[in-house]
């Protein structure tokens, strides 16, 4: 059975249909958690922020003019909710955390190094990395969530991965 379009669900939710809103939440929860995780660096806090974003969205729903752009609108709310949850708009992790990168290139160290490399990325690139690799989202889906073209997403992903690869090489990790 084909999915109902977002705009239809949003309109129903505006008219008080809780089931439609729940369907929208189910549809975008992983993406919102990924976005919040890219800001907070912690999955549990990211889930809290995503849920808070849905609560904020309920309040702001009547203000939404372009119902087709619901996902991008929700993503913006989620980003703000995540930033609010860290109090001051601090970054994904501090430079002190970055100094703890391991020098030995074993599997766990590689994962840590990747985390640190991701932490160093600009917020927009880090967000795309999380959306792409958190739940294996397609470019089309990421495009819907972020409200930008697939070409732009491809560009951001390419630049982000290049930076991560360079970072890993500089720190003694080589491709397997």
């Amino acid at each position: 059975m084909p999915q109902k379009p977002d705009s239809e669900l949003v309109q129903a939710a505006i008219n008080g249909d809780a089931d439609s809103f729940t369907e929208l939440c189910r549809r975008y929860y992983p993406a919102m958690v990924a976005i919040a995780h890219s800001v907070l660096g912690d999955k549990h806090r990211a889930e809290d922020a995503a849920q808070q974003a849905f609560a904020n969205a309920v309040r702001k729903l009547p203000q939404l003019r372009k119902t087709k752009r619901f996902a991008a609108w929700l993503a913006a709310i989620c980003r703000n909710a995540a930033l609010d949850s860290v109090g001051s708009r601090e970054k994904f992790c501090t430079p002190d955390d970055l100094s703890a990168i391991a020098a030995k290139p074993n599997e766990n160290d590689a994962a840590d190094a990747v985390k640190e490399a991701i932490a160093r990325l600009p917020a927009a690139q880090r967000e795309v990395i999380f959306l792409r690799f958190y739940d294996g989202m397609t470019y089309e889906r990421i495009s819907t969530v972020l409200g930008i073209s697939e070409q732009a997403i491809n560009g951001r992903l390419r630049r982000a991965k290049k930076k991560i690869a360079n970072y890993l090489r500089r720190n003694g990790f080589v491709e397997v």
Partner: protein, 147 residues
Amino acid sequence: MKKQKDTKWLDELISRTINSGKPEFDPQKWKEKYPEEFRVLISSMQPIPKAKHAWHRAAQLAVAAAIIIVVALIVVPQGPKVHDRTQELSQVAQSPAEMMTLMSLNIAYRRGGMSAVEKQYQKAFEMLGPRQTNISVQQLMAEFDGT
């Protein structure tokens, strides 16, 4: 080729590092955590959808226009019929000469249009009685003057 190999290696590494399982949304927990927002959601206190709103406004305008027209029809005074006005005028203007003055004709026109003027002429001619077919303008004017 090397670039492709790099990307694949990186993709796997990034995926292993940040992918910690697909999060599932639990609506029941969300309702419990945000009861106020849930209440707002189901209270359906949102504004009327745009299409309905536009229709509603158009209907309001149509009703308002209809009311204005009806009120205008009721309020604007409807004077007596043209025939009555001509009669009124004839009562004021006693002689055919008075009825044929520019002022009398003007008043008749204002009150009843060309038909009232025509009736006033007819009335004046009736008062003058039957005329001979060939009559000079001088004779006609003399009769109008009542001389």
